[in-house]
């Protein structure tokens, strides 16, 4: 019986019961939390190395009460969304055209391919020299970090659009302009949303690195200050908040796709 169950669970791609799926997820998450409790409350590690859950909770309440947490969250969100939206607004149309028009690809491919293998973190010192350590520099880091990746990924989405869709549109009487607006653009939308969802995750990495290198506010700065002041609990607050903000953004993208592109989720 047990062997039978194991066999069923480890057959590739075989679906399992929804309750079982939720149960497994909850079990793993609570086990991790329990392990955290055991090593901290059990005195297995020093509080200065790994703070206990209640210490992190206290730090959360304290930073919330003095307004510092919300201030840092607001600064980071403003920086990341400004950089990300600026990048997306340019990269999405440019990527779509690059994937479908050879002339656009010929013009920008060499530059894009050079830039996309250049880690944006290598540009941070230069950006600090040029525009300082404030809001603009963080926006620039996020922008440069995701822009070239977005272009390449979206160009690929655009190039993958089935050529038969264009052919059939022409034979139905569509003009070249109509083929772009009524076929190419809608056909790329699911891939564009997926690309935005993936690159948003990368944007967080670039932002936090930029804030760790040089900043006067933001979640990365908050973590760095907590390290300097030997407040590991506050470091954990910063990490958890970043994690939850990322999770929330991801959920927004997921629901946006179901809402805006119902045909990708219907069955």
């Amino acid at each position: 019986m047990a062997a039978n169950l194991l066999e069923r669970l480890f057959t590739p791609k075989r679906p399992i019961a929804r309750n079982l799926e939720i149960g497994i997820g909850v079990t793993v998450a609570t086990s991790l939390f329990a392990a955290w409790c055991i090593v901290t409350y059990g005195g297995l590690v020093k509080a200065s190395f790994l703070p206990a859950p209640d210490a992190v909770g206290d730090a959360f309440v304290a930073t919330l009460a003095d307004g510092s947490l919300l201030k840092h969250v607001r600064v980071s969100l403003l920086e990341i969304y400004t950089g990300f939206v600026l990048s997306s607004v340019i990269a999405v149309p440019l990527g779509i055209f690059m994937g479908s028009f050879r002339v656009v690809a010929a013009a920008i491919e060499p530059v894009v391919n050079f830039m996309r293998y250049l880690p944006v973190t290598a540009l941070i010192p230069l950006l600090i020299l040029w525009i300082g350590i404030g809001f603009e520099e963080k926006v620039a880091v996020v922008f440069l970090g995701v822009f070239f990746q977005q272009i390449v990924l979206i160009a690929d989405v655009s190039a993958q659009v089935n050529d038969d869709l264009f052919k059939v549109s022409y034979t139905l009487g569509a003009s070249r302009r109509q083929v772009v607006t009524r076929v190419l653009l809608p056909a790329t939308m699911p891939g564009v949303l997926d690309t935005l969802r993936i690159t948003m995750g990368w944007a967080w990495t670039f932002l936090i690195v930029a804030e760790l290198v040089a900043a006067s506010s933001g979640l990365g700065y908050m973590i760095l200050q907590a390290m300097r002041g030997l407040h590991p609990a506050t470091i954990f607050v910063g990490i958890f908040v970043i994690g939850f903000l990322g999770l929330a953004t991801d959920l927004v993208f997921k629901y946006a796709k179901a809402l805006l592109l119902p045909w990708t989720t219907v069955r």
């Binding site: 059939v168 034979t171 139905l172 069955r267």
Partner: protein, 271 residues
């Protein structure tokens, strides 16, 4: 009107590996208005390329295609095309898919909806107007594609192995459906297939195409009474035609596969 003239059309393309390939070699064909013409040939013989030339999606190396005397110079709504891959717009509902050609043509919304619904009904998909293509089976998707092209009211219908991806039961239902529609709508059809039964069952005339370079090696006036029922495939006349097509195609298919025909006397006449 939809008279299609194909005048000494050649199509060559260059590849880096094999040099110049002659896909179509000075091919001519005259399809009168309202005729159901079928081209049957081995895969890779250039029969689909010929359709794209008539559709205006590709340019011939020499020669030209005409529809009612007008030289084909790019694609247009007068020549509707149905592809093997259904090629529905996945982001549009069935109704919006069928309305596409009317919408880009600028027909007002109420009118195009009315026309779309009529054609959706004609292919038996009433009740599925608001479904998305992913929710439909292959046969249903191809029926939407047919409704979409017919709603546009083209003079010529170009069909590139439209039932090639369907299972054999669905395929024969689709053939009957298409014949019914064609008898009602009276349009010129140029239909490409590699299925001999399909060619003879549907066509007024069946053109047999050779392997590369593509030429017409035989033309069969089918001459079976209409409306046709599926059991004509067992009639003597049908079987006789079938024997003739099979004999021509057999050696052509062997040629494309680089196999030597067992009877060189038969195939020697074409080369």
């Amino acid at each position: 009107m939809g008279r299609v003239s194909i005048e000494e059309v050649s199509l060559e393309f260059r590849t880096r590996r094999t040099g110049t390939i002659v896909a179509l070699d000075s091919l001519s064909m005259e399809i009168p208005d309202k005729q159901f013409a079928v081209i049957v040939g081995p895969s890779g013989c250039g029969k689909s390329s010929l359709l794209t030339l008539v559709a205006g999606l590709n340019d011939a190396s020499s020669g030209c295609c005409r529809v009612d005397g007008r030289v084909v110079n790019g694609p247009g709504a007068d020549r509707g095309m149905v592809f093997q891959s259904y090629s529905l717009f996945p982001w549009l509902t069935v109704r919006k898919n069928v309305e596409f050609g009317l919408a880009v043509g600028g027909l007002p919304a109420p009118e195009r909806t009315e026309r779309a619904l009529r054609h959706i009904e004609a292919v038996g998909l009433s009740g599925f107007e608001d479904a998305y293509p992913v929710q439909l089976s292959g046969g249903m998707q191809q029926r939407v594609a047919i409704a979409r092209v017919l709603a546009n009211d083209p003079e010529v219908l170009l069909m590139d192995e439209p039932f090639g991806a369907l299972d054999s039961q669905t395929r024969s239902i689709m053939q009957e459906l298409l014949l019914g529609i064609w008898e009602r709508e009276q349009k010129t059809v140029l239909f490409v297939t590699h299925d001999i039964d399909e060619a003879l069952y549907l066509g007024d005339v069946v053109y047999i195409m050779s392997a590369r370079p593509g030429r017409i090696i035989d033309t069969i006036e089918v001459g079976l009474a209409r409306p046709r029922r599926y059991d004509i495939v067992t009639s003597e006349r049908f079987v006789g035609h079938k024997r003739r097509v099979m004999a021509s195609l057999h050696s052509e298919v062997q040629k494309t596969m680089n196999l030597t025909p067992p009877d060189p006397g038969e195939s020697g006449s074409t080369s």
